[in-house]
């Protein structure tokens, strides 16, 4: 076993090989990106509710600014927050310790993955400061708009003119981020298969380890064509090829297919790890075995396969064949079945359980409720092409999207942070501030996203900066809805400062965690000291029990650690 040695700042935050330190590096980088994405959201929401107002800390929002803000808000939140938080951070913190090993299979590869991730963040930030300003073509980067004025019939532009543009930098940032996540994914996959503790068969792994790995494989499968597609778009911009150029027989729709062939599995890539996190938290806090471990696993695999067959439901108005639209509608509606099954399994886990309403449990229940009732339910409507064509590109879609991703990505991440914080830092988060943070986030998230449904049905378009020319959007009560949404969004963003303060303060000054296993959980990370030493375990655990064996009749206590003899 390695000896635990205190390292200096540079060593810990730049050159560490420990999976927990690398996870922390990812987490801080992502907090930084989220604060930018959140600030952008604040600016354009203010602009939408109060046009012509000089937004504090930003100034007047021009139409060009609006495009740039929504584009980069979407890109940062989808690519860096969601993918980074749920693949890189969750995978790094949880996989090695939950399967009872000291570190990743390839610690150096892990470090290089983080550096490439950091490079992608730097390129993304650099794209805001290009001579022509940030990228404003929508986060989906559809050509011909994303090829910009570099097409075949524009006057000659030098290579520098083409290269030093936001288009090039954003695409490079995305390409590097994918590279980083693919390298991380290989690492997670090999670690899981190869370094499990003695006795931990595949079916004794905690659900979250399964989910992160399935998500990784799904990511690896779906992102390949988009990597090639990104390369082609870069060539279109910088060299003048015509892959997406209709004049040369190229097809702008090709990009949409490539993007959504990745983009739709991606929402499941970022949904599965939170579902795993919820499985852990719900099972621990209801003191019952997870209902239907194999059932959930089978449904997840079915959903992963189905998720690669639904992508064109993003393109119902893009001129695809109506017969194909029907097929994609049917698959989209079918894919809600496995997820309904998984959610029902979670509810069955709660059923007649000995519930403990701890802070992580509140986040978990909030996530299940919001994701199912409003996110998933409106997804059924949008999946049907007849309704989607009507609601397309309105803020109804925005509301649906935020109701699916906010509960899973944000609530799921917070549930995980409140659950595992004391294990990895050795100190407790303040519970009063935590409760305040939860209720403010829960209430004002709904206050922000629900009015968008009503606005969307009334016809509010999501990508029009100045909507005042449309009289029907100026009638009561729509301005009121916009104001409610905006004020809620502002309070929602402000209440995250409570969390930030709590996080930093508890890291330095929080109450010391005295117990190794404060939640009385079974999985292996709770069977070592808090915080775990370098190398995670003093003695490598040997697994005898499944991860969810709570309330076994043959035991005195209501939990059975996986390594108990």
């Amino acid at each position: 076993m390695n000896t635990h040695k205190k390292h200096g700042f540079w060593h810990r935050y730049f050159f560490s090989l420990d999976h927990k330190d690398i996870g922390f590096q990812y987490m801080l980088t992502i907090f930084f990106m989220v604060s930018i994405g959140g600030f952008f959201a604040y600016v354009f929401r203010m602009h939408l509710a109060f046009p012509d107002m000089k937004v504090p800390l930003f100034g007047l929002v021009t139409n060009k600014d609006y495009n740039m803000l929504i584009t980069n808000h979407g890109l940062i939140m989808m690519m860096w927050l969601a993918l980074g938080m749920l693949l890189a951070v969750a995978g790094n913190f949880l996989i090695p310790i939950m399967i009872g090993t000291d570190d990743m299979a390839f610690p150096k590869l892990n470090k290089i993955s983080y550096w490439i991730f950091l490079l992608s963040v730097i390129l993304m930030i650099a794209s805001f400061f290009m001579p022509k300003g940030g990228l404003g073509v929508g986060w989906t980067l559809y050509p011909p708009l994303s090829v910009g004025d570099f097409g075949y019939n524009t006057p000659y532009k030098s290579f520098a003119d083409r290269f030093f543009t936001a288009n090039t930098f954003v695409l490079l940032a995305i390409a590097f981020e994918f590279t980083s996540l693919l390298m991380g994914g290989i690492n997670f996959f090999v670690t899981t298969l190869n370094k499990r503790a003695k006795g931990m068969s595949l079916l004794k792994m905690p659900m979250v380890v399964w989910m992160i790995n399935i998500a990784n494989l799904l990511f690896m499968f779906s992102v390949g064509p988009l990597v090639a597609g990104t390369f082609m778009l870069l060539l279109d911009i910088n060299v003048g090829t015509g892959f997406y150029d209709a004049y040369r027989g190229g097809d702008p729709l090709l990009w949409e297919h490539l993007f959504w062939f990745f983009g739709h599995p991606e929402v499941y890539v970022i949904l599965l790890p939170p579902l795993g996190i919820l499985a852990e938290i719900i099972s621990v806090n209801s003191r019952k075995p997870l209902f239907g471990y194999k059932f959930i696993l089978t449904l997840t695999l079915i959903a992963a396969v189905l998720s690669t067959m639904v992508w064109a439901h993003h393109q119902f108005v893009a001129g695809i064949d109506p017969r194909a639209a029907t097929v994609f509608s049917i698959f989209t509606i079918i894919i809600s079945l496995p997820f309904a099954g998984i959610i029902l399994a979670y509810i069955a886990t709660l059923w007649k359980g000995d519930l403990r309403f701890t802070l992580p449990m509140k986040w978990a229940l909030g996530a299940v409720a919001l994701f199912t009732l409003l996110g998933g339910f409106t997804g059924l409507h949008l999946g049907a092409s007849v309704f989607d064509i009507y609601a397309h590109d309105t803020s109804f879609v925005v509301a649906h999207f935020h109701y699916t991703l906010f509960p899973t990505v944000i609530f799921g991440s917070f549930a995980a942070i409140y659950f595992w914080f004391s294990k990895f830092s050795g100190r407790k988060l303040n519970q009063t501030l935590g409760n305040l943070h939860f209720w403010l986030t829960f209430i004002f998230f709904n206050g922000f996203a629900f009015p968008l449904f009503l606005l969307g049905l009334a016809g509010q378009h999501r990508r029009i900066a100045d909507y005042r020319q449309f009289e029907f959007l100026m009638q009561d009560p729509l301005p009121l809805y916009r104001k409610i949404a905006t004020i809620s969004a502002v309070i929602l963003i402000l209440s995250q400062f409570i969390f930030l303060f709590n996080f930093i303060w508890s890291l330095k000054r929080g109450k010391k965690e005295t117990e190794d296993n404060p939640w009385q959980a079974n999985t292996l990370e709770w069977q070592t000291s808090s915080p775990p030493p370098h190398g995670n375990f003093k003695v490598y655990p040997v697994v005898n029990y499944g991860p969810y064996e709570y309330n076994r009749p043959d035991k005195d206590k209501d939990f059975t650690p996986q390594n108990e003899i």
């Binding site: 299979a105 994914g185 090639a228 003048g240 027989g249």
Partner: protein, 200 residues
């Protein structure tokens, strides 16, 4: 013949597992490109005429060069099993020489094609009203160029692994991992060669 033992997940060497995962990822990337190329090819018959401008002889020789190099890598792997450093050195250097031959022949082809006006953006063709045909060359350069980058990466990997093994006298399993990657580079070429050169 000794009996081949079935390995459990835990017994598979980590490097082998990682490289197989990497190969799966690479196949999806090239698979995406190849599918796009085939769909376009089916749509535009005129791409067949463009394919006649490729140098089939150079392509055939390159195919043989790569196949031979795969044989050398297998010999290097065999030497690694017996921990024979001199043999490892010999076979890996031969593989790297093959990689250079491949890249040399490819550069010769590129030079000829560029001199005849078949460039990556294909500006001459577009000016002549052959916009659709210009995209054949875009695909040609993108696919073979990306493959060429993989040849360089594979050769570098083999070189560094060989140097590490001969210097430290351990990590023999890395020869196998780098060799697997080299086979992938070979197999991708086996797909590209008929698709780009032979179908007229």
């Amino acid at each position: 013949m000794e009996k081949i033992k079935k390995l459990t997940w835990r017994e598979i060497p980590q490097a082998r597992l990682a490289v197989w995962t990497l190969i799966a990822g690479e196949f999806v990337i090239f698979g995406g490109l190849i599918v796009m190329y085939i769909l376009n090819r089916l749509k535009y018959e005129s791409w067949g005429e463009m394919a006649q401008h490729t140098n089939v002889w150079a392509g055939t020789i390159n195919t043989f060069v790569l196949l031979t190099s795969s044989y050398f890598v297998v010999k290097a792997h065999e030497a690694a099993v017996h921990k024979n450093k001199a043999q490892i050195k010999k076979w890996i250097w031969l593989t790297i020489v093959c990689a250079f031959m491949f890249l040399g022949i490819k550069s010769y082809e590129y030079t000829h094609e560029i001199m005849h006006g078949f460039t990556l953006p294909g500006k001459h063709l577009v000016a002549e009203g052959l916009g659709v045909e210009s995209r054949y060359w875009s695909f040609y350069y993108t696919m073979t160029g990306l493959h060429g980058l993989h040849v360089i990466a594979g050769a570098l990997a083999l070189f560094f692994v060989m140097r590490n093994v001969t210097k430290t006298d351990k990590n023999y399993q890395r020869i196998e991992a780098a060799g697997l990657y080299w086979h992938m580079v070979d197999i991708i070429w086996i797909f590209l060669f008929p698709l780009i050169y032979l179908i007229h």
